[in-house]
């Protein structure tokens, strides 16, 4: 792939991630904010693709764009109180938080930019998905199983916490 094309692609992906992200944290209407998450997640998935982690991109779309966003929207709907749309959604820390986050971003960008990274010259082996699958059931079996248990307990816990009180 030619260089300018690469740059353009990266720029597009970056825009797709960052602009909606900013909107997520600033818009007043929370439902709209939740919806702005979608292009952000998809942008991240695209970035994964650029980096050659195709399986992870798919997982990202499935889980994040699919499940987590939906979950957020559900809870938003369930916890609406009237007049929410008119209430400002940003608190009094806004200015200072803005300063801090700008500083944080600047710090990270500058430091990572100025550092030396020992870039490897090799490329990832083909068959990423297969390799990941074999890893999950091979050397990384234990984390895989533990993650399953975690998901189970999270599910049970969420149900327990969120259910309505038993009527007396």
């Amino acid at each position: 792939m030619s260089e300018p094309l690469q740059y353009a692609l990266f720029g597009l992906v970056a825009a797709t991630v960052l602009v909606p992200a900013v909107l997520v944290v600033t818009v007043r209407n929370l439902v709209r904010a939740a919806f702005w998450l979608l292009p952000a997640f998809l942008g991240v998935a695209a970035a994964f693709l650029l980096l050659g982690a195709d399986f992870l991109a798919m997982v990202q779309v499935l889980i994040y764009a699919g499940a987590i966003m939906l979950l957020l929207l559900f809870v938003l709907m369930l916890t609406r109180s009237p007049g929410d749309a008119r209430v400002p959604q940003s608190n009094r820390l806004t200015l200072w938080a803005g300063v801090l986050c700008a500083a944080l971003a600047l710090a990270i960008v500058v430091i990572t930019g100025a550092s030396y990274w020992p870039v490897a010259s090799s490329a990832p082996a083909p068959g990423f998905t297969r390799a990941v699958g074999e890893a999950l059931l091979g050397p990384y079996l234990l984390p895989f199983e533990v993650a399953s248990v975690l998901l189970l307990s999270a599910m049970v816990g969420a149900i327990v916490i969120a259910r309505k009180e038993a009527s007396r």
């Binding site: 801090l100 500083a103 960008v109 100025a114």
Partner: protein, 646 residues
């Protein structure tokens, strides 16, 4: 015969009395213990004196043991505690123990029935120990320690009847006023210790006489002058010289035997003793002897003028004491080392005698005021006779002891070179004139006292009066004998035994016209007193106005010196105390309170961080992390901005 027994025996008796004899019927044991101890001290002192005079014992310090060593100074200062035996200390030991012994015997009668009978003798024992320790001390700091002890005993005994506010105040006044002098004394001692490297009296004498003193300010002669004056200030306080004499008249609040022993014969003589003891310092510095003499003569004149107008018999005697102490200082200052000590000795005898007589009269009449007395000679013959002996001795009538000692004092003034050095020949003549005027006034007030008390019409109180018991009149008689005969101590005919004892080289030449003129003046004073108070030729009651009355009033009020001290000194001290109290309340307390206030405000301020709001906490967290990163980055790499575009 060990010298330490002399102070140790009274100390032992003090301890015993304090342990056993302070309550109930056992109190009657107390004076016996003390008298036994004092008899022992007297015996030892006499033996030491005889041995010294006969040449078997050599003068010098004894029983030395190391007391303090200050290694840090250069050279190291080593103080040794010990007892000094020489002519001066032997004389004082005998004098103090003898007078103390007689006074204690007298006290058995005088203090009978008092609640604090045992306590009285305990304090008296402590005083005897302190005074004997003072005169036998072998170094100057030891002297100072006993000096303070003597002051303490004086305080305890003046305020013996502590429930009486006048007595308590008098005790405080005595202590505080002498304190002024004591500070100077201590400063002098410290200066000497630093510059001479020793405080041992013999060592000091060698150093100063040899001119090896190392002054640390001014020049050598100015330094010795300052030191001498500082030490003299202690004497001014203790011996009630002007201007620190104000405590002695008030000290008469104590029991009369106390006044006799402490404030006539012994403690007040301590100042004179100190000047004699450190005489070599005074001799080494110019003008100081002249200063001593001037202070002495001013004191003598002033006090005698006050004594003329007092109505309280003890106050007459108190001012008389002050005046005679001034005489002793005059003698010492005029170069008469022996004359001063001679007068100290004779004065101890007749002044103690006079005070004990006064006590006898007071005991009989139950009043101190001479206007309540009169015509007591019939009822109290022994007292009257012994008192007459004392009075005539004080007035300087031969052949009583006072004549001889006064004569020597006056001769010294005539031949004094130190006085001339300070005030010139005219000044010396003025001083001599003042001294002779004091002789006149002394004879006057003594005559007045005796005649008013013992002669004339019998007042009401005389009817109830009776002679005192033997235990009181016995000491009176003995003291009268001593007062009469002590003149032999320094007779030229006997080759000046006292002078030889004290190490005087050759005695001063006698000045014959001094003797005759002083006797004549004394007789004139007595005649005047007799004219006014005996034969009633003049009636002083007719003087009602004008300057004689003003003089009279002034004389009565101690020439307003007490008022001056109250207004100026006491007020100044109180103002200073108020200022310091204000500083303490507001500045010091303010600082402490301020710290507390600061802590409170800081706490209140910091508490705001606990808002309970998560996002605030999160904010703090993140900003801390960013800060750490930034600090690390800057410190590690040294530069902040680097373009990352390759």
């Amino acid at each position: 015969m060990p010298i330490y027994l002399v102070p140790a025996l009274p100390l032992a008796s003090c301890i015993l009395i304090s342990l056993c004899c302070l309550q109930g019927r056992r109190q009657r044991l107390a004076p016996l213990l003390l008298i036994a101890a004092l008899a022992g001290s007297l015996l030892v002192s006499l033996l030491l004196l005889v041995g010294l005079a006969g040449g078997e014992l050599s003068p010098g310090p004894r029983h030395l043991f190391p007391w303090l060593a200050v290694q840090a100074s250069d050279p190291p200062l080593v103080l040794q505690f010990g007892f000094l035996l020489d002519g001066l200390s032997a004389l004082m030991m005998v004098l103090v123990s003898a007078v103390a012994l007689l006074v204690q015997v007298y006290s058995i009668g005088y203090m009978r029935g008092d609640d604090g009978y045992g306590r009285y003798f305990a304090f008296m024992a402590l005083f005897s120990f302190s005074m004997l320790g003072l005169v036998t001390a072998s170094n100057l700091l030891q002297t100072y320690v006993f000096w303070e002890l003597v002051g303490l005993c004086s305080y305890l005994l003046i305020g013996f009847w502590y429930r009486k506010p006048e007595a308590a105040n008098a005790a405080k006044k005595a202590f505080v006023v002498t304190r002024f002098g004591d500070v100077g004394f201590l400063l002098g001692v410290l200066a000497l210790s630093y510059s001479a490297g020793t405080l041992d009296l013999g060592g000091l004498q060698r150093i100063i006489a040899g001119g090896e003193l190392r002054p640390f300010f001014f020049g050598a002669s100015a330094f010795t002058t300052v030191v001498a004056l500082l030490i003299f200030s202690g004497a001014v306080g203790k011996s009630a010289q002007f201007p620190l004499h104000v405590w002695l008249p008030d000290a008469m609040e104590g029991p009369t035997p106390v006044s006799a022993l402490i404030h006539a014969a012994t403690m007040v003589a301590a100042g004179v003793y100190l000047v004699a003891r450190t005489y070599f310092i005074f001799e080494a510095s110019p003008y100081t002897l002249g200063v001593v003499a001037l202070v002495g003569v001013v004191t003598a004149f002033l006090a005698a003028s006050i004594a003329l107008s007092q109505h309280d018999v003890k106050r007459i005697l108190a001012y008389s004491t002050i005046s005679q102490l001034g005489y002793m200082m005059l003698a010492l200052g005029a170069g008469g080392y022996v004359a001063g000590m001679f007068h100290l000795t004779t004065h101890a005898f007749f002044k103690a005698l006079l005070f004990l007589c006064a006590g006898s009269v007071i005991h009989a009449v139950h009043s101190n005021d001479i206007r309540d007395m009169g015509g007591l000679a019939r009822r109290m013959p022994v007292t009257a006779l012994t008192c007459a002996v004392g009075a005539l001795a004080l007035a300087g009538i031969p052949p009583l002891s006072g004549f001889f000692s006064k004569d020597e004092v006056l001769s010294c003034v005539v031949t004094s070179s130190s006085l001339v050095m300070l005030v010139g020949e005219t000044g010396r003549r003025v001083v001599l004139g003042a001294a002779l005027a004091v002789v006149f006034m002394t004879a006057c007030y003594m005559g007045r006292m005796w005649l008013v008390v013992f002669a004339g019409r019998r007042g009401e109180s005389a009817d109830h009066a009776h002679e005192s018991p033997l235990v009181m009149t016995g000491p009176l008689a003995l003291l009268a004998l001593l007062a009469a005969g002590a003149g032999v101590l320094n007779l030229p005919a006997l080759h000046h035994p006292l002078g030889q004892l004290l190490g005087e080289g050759e005695p001063a030449a006698a000045v014959p016209w001094v003797a005759t003129s002083s006797v004549a003046i004394g007789l004139a004073g007595l005649a005047l007193a007799a004219a006014i108070y005996g034969l009633r030729l003049l009636d002083l009651g007719r003087i009602k106005s004008g300057w004689p009355l003003a003089l009279y009033r002034g004389s009565q009020q101690n020439w307003y010196l007490d008022a001056f001290y109250t207004v100026v000194v006491a007020r100044a001290v109180l103002v200073g105390a108020d200022i310091i109290a204000w500083v303490d309340r507001h500045v010091v307390n303010g600082m402490v309170d301020g710290v507390g206030w600061l802590a409170g405000r800081a706490g209140t301020g910091l508490r705001r961080a606990h808002t309970g709001q998560l996002q605030v906490y999160a904010y703090v967290l993140v900003s801390a992390a960013v800060l750490v990163v930034l600090v690390l980055w800057v410190s590690r790499s040294g530069y902040v901005l680097v373009p990352f575009l390759r």
